[in-house]
């Protein structure tokens, strides 16, 4: 059986939800420059996250007593895709809403959940993901950061890298080694810890990327104490927990909407009667956008029903990244002064930003090569 994506059967959003979100964006997002909106889930804005939290749009699938509203995965999907398409600066709460919260809900103890989830849902508590290390990028299983059991908890030593927005975050959920070094089973002996970044022994160093933004960081952990109750799930089960988390990370609309602000900006700028080339380009984008959204919604429906659609998620992410990267490239190739209509510079600036940012689209969240390896395994080739 090849991976399948049956079309969803019910609208993801309750009537009126999109209108409510769009009205909110009209006052909160529309005034930002297109180049800023193009940063979308890389754009850090705590005030925006708090405003979103107040309206109940963070952690919405969680139970009411933990700050959520018991919404379905598909309803959350509608909120998230609206945020991304509008280019809302969602980075502050993004990781916590998408996956850290889900992990806490599933594996955290009651006290941890009661303490953290309501603050995440309020848009006040921010998380990052500690997976990659200087010596462990795509080969995650070779990571060396180690937690050693001590009185009342763990002592952690090592370092993490490419940790998005760690300089602003309160906590990192890190994958660390708690068992013996890799033997026959390379995936044994890992655990997940919730590490408070204000702890003594934590040093965070932002890394500037080629666009001039500093959204990712290197983190040094020097004998950092983590209380025992901040172990997530089972000791030694870290690898399986992370794998389940990755389907959440890979299939969402952020995997094909990264260049969307540019598409809307082009449509708003283009003259009344664009020629065949730009008409066809617009059509190809709209058609691929529709296809990817249908596929991504199919994966969301599988997540909703409790499946772990790892292969389908990898397919959406790889196809989505190809699309996101093609948008600035194809637009640049079709560049034609007459067809531009009136661009006061916003379009060119947005295009430049996305051209420079686009290499990251097939690196972050699992490289293209890793994803294709996962798909090949799913096809029975490995």
């Amino acid at each position: 059986m090849t991976p399948n994506f049956p079309p969803i059967r019910t609208a993801p959003a309750a009537a009126g939800l999109r209108a409510e979100l769009r009205a909110f964006f009209a006052s909160s997002v529309k005034g930002m420059t297109p180049a800023r909106r193009a940063r979308s889930w890389s754009g850090w804005d705590e005030e925006f996250s708090r405003a979103l939290g107040q309206r109940g749009w963070i952690g919405m699938t969680w139970p009411e007593e933990l700050g959520g509203r018991g919404a379905s995965q598909l309803e959350r999907y509608a909120v998230v895709e609206e945020l991304l398409a509008a280019g809302a600066p969602v980075a502050a709460h993004w990781i916590a809403d998408r996956q850290s919260g889900a992990l806490l809900l599933r594996y955290g103890n009651e006290a941890l959940k009661a303490d953290m989830l309501p603050r995440i849902a309020a848009g006040e508590l921010y998380f990052c993901i500690g997976m990659s290390e200087p010596g462990a990028g795509s080969d995650l299983a070779s990571l060396r950061t180690r937690a050693t059991a001590t009185e009342g908890g763990w002592r952690v030593n090592g370092s993490k890298i490419w940790t998005t927005h760690a300089q602003h975050c309160h906590y990192m959920i890190a994958l660390v080694r708690t068992g013996a070094d890799a033997g026959d089973d390379r995936h044994a002996g890992f655990s997940q810890l919730v590490i408070e970044l204000a702890s003594p022994g934590v040093t965070v160093r932002p890394i500037e990327d080629q666009t001039g933004d500093a959204h990712f960081c290197e983190i040094f952990l020097d004998d950092v104490f983590v209380p025992a109750e901040q172990l997530l799930g089972q000791e030694g089960e870290g690898w399986n927990q992370v794998t389940a988390e990755l389907a959440l990370e890979r299939s969402g609309p952020e995997r094909f909407l990264s260049s969307h602000v540019l598409i809307e900006q082009l449509l708003a700028t283009l003259c009344d009667q664009p020629g065949n080339t730009l008409t066809a380009l617009t059509g190809a984008w709209a058609a691929e956008l529709w296809t990817l959204r249908q596929m991504s919604l199919a994966v969301a429906a599988k997540l909703e029903s409790g499946e772990n659609p790892m292969i389908e998620a990898s397919i959406v992410k790889d196809l989505g990244a190809r699309f996101e990267q093609s948008v600035p490239r194809d637009l640049q190739a079709a560049y034609d002064d007459d067809a531009w209509g009136h661009d006061d510079g916003d379009l060119r600036e947005t295009l430049s930003y996305l051209t420079a940012a686009s290499p990251s689209f097939s690196l972050r969240g699992g490289t293209r090569e890793i994803l294709r390896g996962i798909i090949a395994r799913g096809l029975g080739l490995r």
Binding site: R9, W290, T291, E369
Partner: protein
């Protein structure tokens, strides 16, 4: 999937597998009548004709399952053509004749006396042809035309028909134009392509797991694995787009979804065929091995009823006409509306 559709899927899968087994992919029409009789025996040519009108019933999603299965078994028999031509005649209000039907589109108005219909499949097996022109439909006797055969290597016999004088069996005005008929023809092809790509993927997987070079199966080479991952992605995209367009066509006006799906399927057909052939090596290029039954047909179907460029422009015109409404608002509102229709229908 509902029970009825599950049974339909299993039934056509069994029938088409049998037909492929007895040579229906390859025999160039030698045993055509026998193949067609077994298709008629279970009533498939009456698909999409309402049961109360003596038909098989079924909506676009049911038809999509059947059309996809044709592609998946490498069959180019004109079942989809007959089904759509009959269903359209029904909508126009004319009783469809028996037998094998085709349809064709022509740009000229009804006054033109000579008409050439290019590259139709199975012209020597067709009993009748539904010709659709911008403002008129005509039912033509296939025997009344001069046949100009062309070797188009499209997997099935194709020829151009020249009607020196149109002498229709029946005809009438077409008040709503041909656009929706043309789109449905494109959706037929999108479904067939999706089926063909899935089988290309399955054949490619089987081949690279069995074939050994340099002391190991081809499947162990990362270069091969990544090519097949791309093929699986194209398969998923074509399949999801075609199924989604069938869902939309069942629920109402689906001009955009069908245009997007045919664009996606045509695009996928070329990428998938390139990869499937590359990983098969020389054996996949032979007549003896079955791959060509899927790749030649998928490429031809990709060209039929609007290729990638045609449908990209069509979608582009639709999207641009909605300005200044953002593309995103238009696309999601439309999708929500369609799904709301489905919810109400299922209540």
């Amino acid at each position: 999937m509902n029970d009825r559709r599950t049974i339909l899927t299993e039934t056509v899968d069994r029938l088409f597998a049998n037909l492929a087994e007895v040579g229906a992919r390859e025999d160039g029409g030698k045993e055509f009548d026998g193949h067609w009789q077994s298709i008629e025996a279970i009533g498939l040519p009456l698909l999409m004709i309402p049961e109360e009108a003596g038909g098989f019933g079924g909506d676009w999603e049911d038809a999509g399952v059947v059309f996809r299965a044709l592609g998946a078994h490498g069959l180019g028999l004109p079942l989809g053509e007959t089904v759509l031509a009959r269903a359209w005649l029904g909508r126009i209000g004319h009783k469809a004749p028996e037998g094998v039907g085709l349809f064709a589109f022509a740009k000229e108005g009804p006054d033109e006396s000579a008409t050439t219909l290019n590259d139709l499949p199975w012209t020597d097996r067709a009993d009748w042809i539904l010709l659709l022109r911008p403002d008129r439909w005509s039912l033509l006797d296939a025997a009344g035309a001069e046949t100009r055969e062309r070797n188009l290597l499209s997997g099935d016999p194709r020829a151009s028909l020249v009607f020196h004088a149109l002498d229709p069996i029946a005809d009438g005005p077409l008040s709503e134009g041909t656009a929706m008929f043309f789109a449905e023809a494109a959706l037929l092809r999108a479904c067939q392509i999706a089926g063909a790509i899935e089988t290309m993927l399955i054949l490619a997987i089987d081949h690279v797991r069995e074939r050994r070079q340099f002391g190991r199966p081809l499947a162990r080479f990362q270069a091969i694995q990544h090519q097949l991952a791309i093929l699986a992605e194209e398969n998923a995209a074509a399949s999801c787009a075609a199924a989604s367009a069938c869902q939309s066509a069942t629920l109402g006006e689906a001009g955009f979804e069908i245009a997007a799906a045919k664009w996606r399927a045509s695009r996928a057909a070329d990428i998938a065929a390139d990869i499937a052939h590359q990983v098969h090596g020389a054996i996949g290029f032979t007549r003896e091995y079955a791959l060509h039954a899927f790749t030649l047909r998928a490429r031809a179907w990709g060209r039929d009823f609007g290729n990638e460029t045609y449908w990209a422009r069509t979608v582009g015109r639709i999207a641009l006409a909605e300005r200044p409404k953002p593309l995103w608002h238009w696309l999601t509102d439309r999708s929500d509306r369609l799904l709301e229709t489905e919810r109400k229908r299922n209540e």
